[in-house]
């Protein structure tokens, strides 16, 4: 071993330094991974009242039209969820817009990211299509574009006009809380959740008012009031993802 300048001791030194460097990189990364931008003024949330949802699927169609989604993909399905007191119950499932979103954590290129207002957004121009986010999402909220969506959108114009560009083949897509409507509305001085033009299309389309949208940081907002006055739950709270979609459970006593 003596004939080489490269001794075991040197090796241990170098390895140790490299390990320490890698570890500190990890630590700083972890501190970034938690809470997206705490000091923001708005915290968008959706409240879905299962007592009111009839399962008509208007929200699905409106979503399809406004976000120009392929008929093979659903961002926002309305799933049957059993019966309560002989009445069918439904579970509409948009993207949960998790406060600690597994998809954002795992994306190798940062194509999934937190907007300052907490919305979990996609930069479709960065995405490489590895589908790690699909494997990581506990809510199956992501749909991959296995094919290119060409041709007319059957939901247009009956259910609305497209407001965003179509996603290319090879990237996964998901619900965005209609961030394009929120951004445009705010720039026009409107209030998301109050003014239809600034509110997610599914909320506007719901004929029974089962969906509410608004700012959790505003105690006067409809979502704040609903959550104050009603018991609510979120999906898979055990995972610690802190979804921003709240559900009001069907009432067992009444009806």
């Amino acid at each position: 071993m003596t004939h080489t300048a490269f001794s075991r001791r040197n090796f241990i030194k170098i390895t140790g330094l490299a390990a320490a460097a890698a570890f500190s990189l990890r630590l700083s990364a972890n501190s970034q991974a938690s809470s997206p931008q705490p000091g923001t003024t708005r915290r968008w949330a959706m409240v879905i009242d299962q007592r009111k949802c009839l399962g008509c699927g208007y929200c699905v169609q409106a979503c399809r039209a406004h976000n120009d989604i392929s008929p093979e993909i659903t961002w926002n399905p309305v799933l049957p969820a059993g019966e309560v007191n002989g009445q069918p119950v439904f579970l509409p499932r948009p993207c949960m817009q998790c406060e600690h979103a597994p998809c954002v954590e795992v994306c190798p290129v940062g194509a999934s990211f937190y907007r300052p207002d907490g919305i979990v957004a996609m930069n479709y121009d960065l995405c490489i299509g590895c589908r790690y986010c699909e494997a990581a999402c506990p809510y199956a909220a992501r749909s991959f574009n296995w094919k290119e969506f060409t041709g007319p959108n059957p939901a247009v114009p009956e259910w609305g006009q497209p407001e965003v560009a179509r996603r290319p083949r090879g990237v996964p897509e998901k619900c965005s809380f209609c961030s394009q409507r929120i951004d445009r509305g705010l720039s026009l001085g409107l209030t998301p959740g109050v003014d239809d033009e600034a509110t997610p299309a599914c909320v506007v389309a719901c004929p029974t008012g089962a969906r509410a949208f608004g700012d959790l940081n505003d105690p006067q907002s409809q979502v704040s009031a609903l959550l104050r006055d009603n018991p609510s739950y979120r999906l898979r709270e055990d995972l610690g993802t802190s979804p921003r979609v709240y559900y009001l459970a069907p009432d067992k006593e009444k009806k």
Binding site: V109, G110, I128, G129
Partner: protein, 404 residues
Amino acid sequence: MKTLAAFAHSSWGRWLLTLGVFLGLGLTAALMVLWRGLSLTNLTDLVPWGLWITIDLTSIALAGGAFSLCAGVYLLGLKRYAPVARTATFIGLAGYTMALLALFLDIGRPDRFWHALVYWNRHSLLWEVTLCVCLYLTVLLLETAPIVAEWDWLKRRWPVLAQRLAAVHHLAPILAVIGLCLSMLHQSSLGAVYGVLKARPFWFRPDLAALFLLSAVAGGMSLTVLASMLAARLTPRAQVQDELLERVSSFIGWMLALYLYLRFWDALSMTYTYAPGRSEGLSLLTGGTLSFNFWVGEMLLGTLVPLILLLNPKTRKIPLWRMMALALVVGGVAAYRWDTNLSGLLILVSYQPGAPQTLYTMYRPSLVEWMAGLGIAAYGLLLFSLGVRYLKVVSHPQAEASAA
């Protein structure tokens, strides 16, 4: 015309023709996928990773002989094994390029494959893996440079270039350190890519990282020794010192024992949980669709039988038994990667309140996936065969052995 016919009838020619057929199949499949997209696969939103990921993981694992043997030679000073490490390095280069080919097809946007190098998300394990793999591929290229320098044609045609490439050999110890660090990182974190996903309860456990690393060392060394022995029997251009290969094989036996030990506790910890998705994942392996793969492919043939054959000096000394054992280890590593990927994906935990807790999904690779997979394997075999023929990647010093 005559020479062509003679070539086609030589064993080398027939071998190249066979590989060429599979390469053609693979190339056809690849072009189809690039043209028509991933809808040609049987992957779904619920099972987004399949055969190609398994090929990717397996080729990286089987390339693991490179870093472990180089570390042994240049860091532990086991200089005798340098010719084995040389073979392992070349196999490593073949394995990592195979993995990149599989990944290139697998990602939805192959045109953006370079994004992970430019756009960093430092808390993504897949980002870390991508960066490590690319850096390690650079290390492998440098480590292969002195091997390429022995190409007779290059020495005749570009003597100065050949000398420059040969000089890279002086960097070997440094490259071994960097290679060891990078490989330990990404061989383990390929397991952790799965292990960190809480949404897939059967994956969500810390020991996948250790198991991936150990099985990569055992599998990588196995492929190196097996390929060396096969080459020495098929062509006079490859010479081996059997004693070296036998010693490495005994080490592989001990690695298998360590792997089996950890794997036992890994599986046992799964039986003492009733969390939805976890016990179902285990029963998928022990009694469900993956059970044959698990019991026969991974445990019996992949680990136990080779462990006995390689640790028992009598069977280890007999080349046929040893080669069989090594081939079984290689198959076992592939089976382990396949099972790991699918056991997490075939079971879903429902997010619906009040709905059945676990759901089962299905996956069977499509024709195009198999064609591309076979093509990638043929590419690896071709690269190694060319290496044996023109770069003498399997050439252990013979004169010393006979003189001593």
